[in-house]
Point group: C2
Chain length 309, copies 2
Amino acid sequence: MKNAIDNLIEKIKKTNNPTVMGLDPRYEMIPEYIRKKYDKTLKGVASCIVEFNKKLIDAICDVIPAVKPQIAFYEMYGIEGMKAFEETCKYAKEKELVVIADIKRGDIGTTAKAYSNAFLGKTLVGDKEESIYDVDFVTLNPYMGIDSIKPFLEDCKKYNKGVFILAKTSNPSSGDLQDMKLENGEEVYIKTAKLIEEWGKDFIGEYGYSSVSTVVGATYPKQLEEIRNVAKHSYFLIPGYGAQGGKATDIAYGFDKNKLGGIVNASRSLMYSYKSDLWKDKYTEEEFEKATLAEAIRMRDELNSAINK
Amino acid sequence: MKNAIDNLIEKIKKTNNPTVMGLDPRYEMIPEYIRKKYDKTLKGVASCIVEFNKKLIDAICDVIPAVKPQIAFYEMYGIEGMKAFEETCKYAKEKELVVIADIKRGDIGTTAKAYSNAFLGKTLVGDKEESIYDVDFVTLNPYMGIDSIKPFLEDCKKYNKGVFILAKTSNPSSGDLQDMKLENGEEVYIKTAKLIEEWGKDFIGEYGYSSVSTVVGATYPKQLEEIRNVAKHSYFLIPGYGAQGGKATDIAYGFDKNKLGGIVNASRSLMYSYKSDLWKDKYTEEEFEKATLAEAIRMRDELNSAINK
């Protein structure tokens, strides 16, 4: 049976596009014509976000294989925001997009199990099990070690899901902990990448990649290359492209001769491309979907040209 | 002005009790007589949890200074679970308990800001700012460095809040990353504790402790002692007591001559003490509040006797 990473890879091959669109709603960046349809209340803002997200998903669902909602941008609107998160995940799945919930959780075993119930597995409600968010992948934080990962791995096996675990993140201060040198000369991010490779060894699919894979920022190309050398089976989730400064050429080393090996996230540069220097003169805010689609195609071609060896 | 850690310390002094009660609801552990009042649906389970939590809070609010809801145990019930989380935090605050939301978040700056809006600060909704969960403290994960902490620190300053950042966690595999030796001979948890001490230096209150403090597991007494030596201003949030195996004598080194320096979490051993070997023969399930109160007093006395130097 194909596993979660096989399904993602096949979707990437079908669209010929190693892009995941981040869905990080920022109310003030949503086109005015949508915003003015809704009350300025938590409920109104959440409804506005759902409409915007659905239009974005409709615009790119034939061109981009996956979306990555960042849960913080929903949680900040409380219960109403979480409803918008739930509806966004559901709609993306209906449109056959792979859904990666960017939650970066990490906690002791019993707590990790509760999180995994919420996102990958099922929750026992009275006598029967219910799916809650039921996404395809989540992101995890490795700081607490294998206990904090294992309940998710059990659900990966049971429900055919996957995880991406942080090794080297895209943010400027990622080095505070991740770049510390260990006594054997390795950095923490290398040791972490090796642990993830080890944790993922039972989840390797048909293409030689594991459903238990790694997050590596586009903003650190040297480290990305080093991690590739110790994590041969890891499919990289690569944030940091676009607004954060990562370039297509920076991520090429993550990919193999079949153009597989990673999926590159862009959030702001896709969602709000109608405001970007590149597209703002060509499309109005009412045509924001066209701007997003144009940017998705431009990004796809740029990535493909960079990873074509 | 007193800061967040001063407020917590004064509450600890007033109750003469360095305990925080974890609020990690497990449906199957809630007394049958409460469970059978509600439907076995997500909504029913969430209502059942709220009733149970409120009764627990009523039982201990004069004896225990703080509660720590672990958000995973609410998130696993989806939207209804998050409503129960919200109601639990609100009720605990009404009862003048200090509320520590155990969320262990860590993400890039813009995302960290969104999380901080949700838990410590405010969210801009249209033209006005609204409080969402508005708790007193959150727990954070340091793996992504200062960028991922800074937005919370800004809200700590602005709204008089605090954070506890993971250094050495209580779980068995916490050593996978945290115990790695750096090239200078220090472990990762020591380096992390030093970073937290540095990040917290502008938040030191009247008692010499910082509102930006550290999580250190009761299950690792040697490491707790080492961390105390490099993090003099850190008020320790100490999980792992009770069900996880940590003992009162294990945490004594975290405390100063005034019996200040830490707050010890117990979740299962307090919430479900009516099922414990110690109390199950004395109290029925209908008297679970009495069992929890009795255990709270027993734990308080045990801790106080261990930390009295």
